[in-house]
């Protein structure tokens, strides 16, 4: 093995976006004919690293060696020439083109299409036989299942004679059966001498198909090990890390009557089943934390409860009464009227209107409040501004200027505006998504204290976060979501990050 140069070697790659160091001095080397996994939490810098390798970003520092040769990769063409192919998380396919057309796009042999099409059609048949990549060459992409679309992406790379394949979260959109098929294909490709880099946050996949695995955390490569020498538990620990635990002082919960009852809730969004019949309850005075890797249905759970998207089935009861999940009363206004407040996951695209000034944002969603109206026709902007000034004082939003547009506040202060707006409505149920994403340490602590205080006033809180620390620190009960379902519930003092990490990866303790 040591005699052949590594298929890919990265030396000291660094990349910063403004003040954020997305990749910090990363070095890895991958042997040809192996499958190398890269795991890490969201935001760990995996995708940035691969984008550098594929020529989308230019690294600030560092060198790339392909098969032992120093290979600068300024753009995608260079990457393609170097034999690198990438299968993106979101497919880059032309939906109303046929498979053959997508495969040859950009790799045509001449000005006329016909020779390329005939060649590709034949090659596709060969590749299908060779790797088990069966797909009808003349089918249109939009008529194919997601799994088959992914095959087309792989075929595209093989047609370009890529020797190195990067797959970015390839199973995120696949059913378990489709994922298994993909792994068999990857094995075959490996046998044929291809080198594969698999980016994922699912430990099961790493254990199943990779030969070696690197763990990334906060822009750094924390470890590279042989898969056979490690265990999911160890990887989970490396991945999550022993972060400085933000201690949240809180008294034990005193749960009261049941506020929210969700029963067999099902949501289909953009043609994909996002919630596959989930059920849970939250009582007054308790925080239910939903842990999970992003994209497993947590966002849709918040959106359907917040009135942003309709449900396809199931019931939701607030204080014992069913709420409208599909009809005229299923909008955000009606939810607010029912005592549901919502701190959305993405404050910039959902929770705030960025060009709106702070005071306008403080009324957002509550702009029908009679206290904000001067008369039947006009709003009482002075009243909103006064109210805003008060809330900004109370939540220590800086700068304390109600006339400043939301986009001019820092992330933490933007979030405080949203939190102040939603919490000061005295809701029976607060939905909170990623409350501290992109928020500075000081604001994190503040927001956490506010959430606890609201709980202690006897409110029910549904907390969704991809930060395991946050879930562990705040929740009175923890439910783990995976693939649109709840994997199970745990009490924070009877579980640990490793167990939750495994559940988040779709594994139960017994299977590990």
């Amino acid at each position: 093995m040591t005699s052949t140069p590594p298929a890919i070697e990265l030396r000291g790659i660094s990349k910063a976006f403004g003040p954020v160091q997305a990749n910090k001095d990363i070095s890895i080397s991958v042997q040809p004919g192996t499958i190398h996994g890269i795991v890490g939490e969201n935001g760990a810098g995996k995708s940035t690293l691969m984008s550098i390798l594929y020529g989308f970003y230019k690294a600030d520092k560092g060198e790339i060696y392909i098969n032992g040769q120093l290979t600068p990769i300024p753009d995608s063409q260079a990457a393609i020439r170097a034999g690198i192919g990438m299968v993106h998380q979101h497919f880059k396919l032309v939906e109303n083109f046929t498979v053959v057309e997508n495969v040859i796009l950009g790799a045509e042999d001449g000005a006329m299409l016909q020779p390329s099409i005939s060649k590709a059609r034949k090659l596709l048949t060969d590749l299908a036989a060779e790797y088990g990549l069966e797909v009808n060459p003349d089918a249109r992409i939009e008529d194919l299942s997601v799994g088959h679309q992914q095959r087309v992406e792989i075929l595209k790379q093989l047609y370009r004679q890529a020797d190195i394949l990067i797959l970015d979260e390839p199973t995120g959109v696949l059913t378990p059966a489709e994922a298994d098929q993909l792994f068999r294909i990857l094995e075959r490709l490996k046998e044929e001498g291809k080198t594969i880099i698999l980016i994922t946050h699912k430990l099961r996949e790493i254990m199943e198909v990779t030969d070696t695995v690197s763990v990334m955390r906060r822009g750094q490569m924390t470890a590279t090990v042989k898969t056979s020498d490690t265990s999911p538990a160890e990887l989970a620990e490396l991945m999550v890390g022993r972060k400085v635990l933000l201690r949240v002082d809180k008294a034990p919960a005193k749960p009261g009557k049941t506020v929210l009852e969700v029963d067999n809730l099902r949501v289909r969004h953009h043609g994909v089943d996002k919630l596959k019949g989930i059920s849970f309850q939250i009582r007054a005075g308790e925080i239910l934390g939903i842990a999970g890797v992003a994209g497993n249905g947590q966002s849709e759970l918040l959106e359907v409860l917040g009135g942003m998207i309709p449900a396809q089935g199931g019931t939701v009861r607030m204080n014992g009464d069913a709420i409208d999940l599909t009809g005229a009363k299923s909008d955000g206004q009606s939810r607010r009227a029912r005592g549901i407040a919502h701190v959305p996951e993405d404050r910039q695209s959902e929770g705030l209107i960025m060009p709106y000034e702070a005071w306008e944002n403080m009324a957002f969603g509550y702009h029908h409040d009679p206290a904000y109206q001067a008369n039947r026709f006009l709003m009482n902007n002075a009243a909103i501004k006064a109210d805003t000034a008060e809330k900004m004082e109370q939540y220590d939003v800086r700068p304390r200027n109600p006339r400043l547009p939301a986009r001019n506040f820092s992330g933490g202060n933007q979030q405080k505006i949203v939190v102040a707006r939603e919490m000061e409505r005295n809701p029976d149920l607060l939905l909170v998504g990623q409350p501290t994403r992109g928020v500075d340490i000081g604001a994190i602590e503040f927001i956490h204290r506010q959430i606890i205080a609201l709980r202690d006033q006897g409110k029910a809180i549904l907390l969704v976060s991809v930060e395991l620390d946050e879930i562990m620190g705040l929740s009175d009960r923890i439910a783990v979501m995976f693939d649109g379902q709840i994997m199970g519930e745990r009490l924070p003092d009877q579980t640990d990050e490793n167990e939750l990490g495994l559940m988040m990866a779709g594994m139960t303790k017994g299977a590990a």
Partner: protein, 389 residues
Amino acid sequence: MDKMPKWADVILIPLISVILALLVSGLVVIFIGESPIEAMQIMIRGAFGNAYGWGYTLFYTTNFIFTGLAVAVAFHAKMFNIGGEGQAALGGLGVAIICLTIPWPHWSVALLAAVIGSAVFGAAWAAIPAYLQAKRGSHIVITTIMFNFIASALLVYLLVNVFRVPGSMAPETARFPEAVHLPNASQFAGFLGFRPSTPLNVSFFVAILACVFVWLLIWRTRLGYEIRAFGHSETAAVYAGIHPVKIVMVSMLISGGLAGMMAINGVMGEAERLVIDNVQGAGFVGIAVALMGRSHPVGVFLAALLFGALYQGGAELEFEMPAVSREMIVVIQALVILFTGALDNMVRMPMEAFFLARHRRQEAAAAAAAPNPKPDAAHTGAPAAQREE
């Protein structure tokens, strides 16, 4: 952080764009072989030099305020209503029906009814494209263009076959009765030197009221609040419980209504009958006016005044400089739309770079002066980093 101070966005960039448009127009005049300075002087004198000029300038301004506001309201909901021309034509039909079918006792009552009638007809003409956009996703720009042509055909048909005075060849309605003739500037402002022939009439005040109305609507009402929120971010609007279909419909109805109201000025106030092609491109000028006025009523008023002056000054220019055609104003209008609309980024990007560099310099100076930078500084870029994964 904002890349630019607000005043740069609201005033500086439109100003630079308009200056660029005028500079290029000047080049065209030079190309024709005339002096742009002299042309400018003629135009300014023609537009503002005497009561005659003012009368026409403000008459055109009135038209452009209505159509500019119409485009502006739709812009706030992030829609491009290019159908002002057709909506205004239909507004004319509304005015004609109101004025010809009911024996009004006094012009003031008739005006009120005509305002409503023109707005209803204009709104109705915007309703179908709006509905198709809201419910079927049909692109509103294309449907409103199509509706302009349909409106024009419809109007010709009605004027030729339905409203034409028997025995007359002209495709136009009968003259409106004396009672509904709107007072013109010679009657309410004769002391300023306006002659009875001036086209400027009380509709000008209605236009100013419309500016106030739109200002109140957009910045003081819940509906305006929702329209702007929807225009900035549909996702956020849905989060706040705002219904996209409602906003698309309502803002287009208001937009069409405003365009329709233009007819009270030209049809009721000036021509006193409905003639073919009574809109004369004012619907399209509204696009330039709204773009230049940054969709704000005050900006729309000022831009409408500029275009009113251009139209009147352009007429004088053609008279005094026969080599320069009246169409020169269409060229200026095109260049204003081009620079303030389509080439906005061309002006904006260097300005943003300039202000960003200035901001950095100031920050560096501040950091040098105070050893402790603000604690939040490290997090300003954090959201961008999260989107990476």
